[in-house]
Subunit: 176 residues, 2 copies
DNA sequence: TAGTTTGTTCATTTTTTTCTGGACAGTTTG
DNA sequence: CAAACTGTCCAGAAAAAAATGAACAAACTA
């Protein structure tokens, strides 16, 4: 039986209802990360979780996150799983509490590297396969069209190579 | 009264139904661009349109795109509008035909530049505003937490600057 | 000018994505 | 060992995004 965690103190807005409120700072952080996370094509709830953890001075268990963000157990569990998989959060030990406690990971480079490896590279790879298949197909097309098609495929390949060669550079740049 | 455009020839698959088919090459191109377009957070129909235009040796009117992609007028119109706004396609004059004819634009740099200016920069800008607001808010927080918070905001600002400074470089890199 | 053709817009429908909450499995505790 | 706790998973609900098609406007045609 653990002592009731009480992080919901230091609120000056007199919150009549029992609902835990978020400080202005927390709201700003959450909004910020919702935007960023959506830009990367991930669900809003993931941004909420990371945003709150980002400004929290102490590690938070899932229960607190659910409570303060008014989020279901399922979303919290799934979201944290995703964040863990990207190395964006990690769990830390908290004495006398059986639950996992989460803290945000502040190293952007790991996050970016995992995101690129997981989401971008696969697309580039399958893109390359497609281009190769297309190059094969073009050989069987009517001569009249072949030239145009070959020209365009060459451009496509060029884009692909450009993208491919840019990724390592971006990673290097992010590793401050 | 224009002559019926007939691009649906050179198909060797004996297509019993009246439905216009797509060649293997077209299908590959469409798939490729659907993937790319979705990565950028745009609807699939936009990828279909660009993909077909990319491999088409001749300019195509909207009607043909709708027909061959089995797509509604609304989607086609909206999708082409979006592609135009990014400079990814343009219309060209075709003698004796009142309709707009579309061709794909092959210059990646303009596309990327417009995408960044339209989708990425605004996020970075609003992010900066948020960070500034947060820095203000932190000053009023309890001393115990202030240090942590300030530390994290500094990191956040650092990320922001990094992102900001990376964009011009990416653009320069893309301008082959 | 009346009738076509072409393309846009937008309210509705459809599809896809995300969220929810309960069943469940694994741990711990008494 | 039974009861409580913690977290995962997943079927169904809810929300968000995309596609549809018909109404409309503009431009042309006869």
């Amino acid at each position: 039986m653990r002592a009731q965690t009480e992080l919901d103190s230091h609120e000056h807005s007199p919150n009549s209802g029992a609902r835990p409120v978020l400080s202005e700072l927390e709201v700003e952080a959450i909004d910020l990360f919702i935007g960023l996370i959506k830009l990367l094509g991930m669900p809003k709830s993931v941004g909420e979780l990371y945003g709150l953890l980002f400004v929290s001075p102490v590690p938070l268990p899932m229960e607190t996150l659910m409570d303060r963000l008014q989020m279901s157990k399922g979303s919290a569990s799934q979201g944290l799983k995703l964040l863990r998989s990207f190395g964006a959060v990690k769990t830390v030990y908290v004495a006398g509490d059986r639950r996992d406690h989460y803290v945000a990971e502040f190293d952007l480079s790991r996050f970016a590297s995992n995101f690129i490896k997981g989401e971008v590279q696969p697309h580039l790879d399958s893109g390359l396969e497609r281009i190769q298949r297309m190059e094969q197909l073009v050989k069987d097309s009517p001569a009249a069209e072949r030239d145009t098609a070959e020209n365009r495929l060459a451009r496509l390949r060029h884009w692909h190579e450009k993208g491919q060669s840019m990724l390592p550079w971006i990673l290097k740049f992010l590793v401050s």
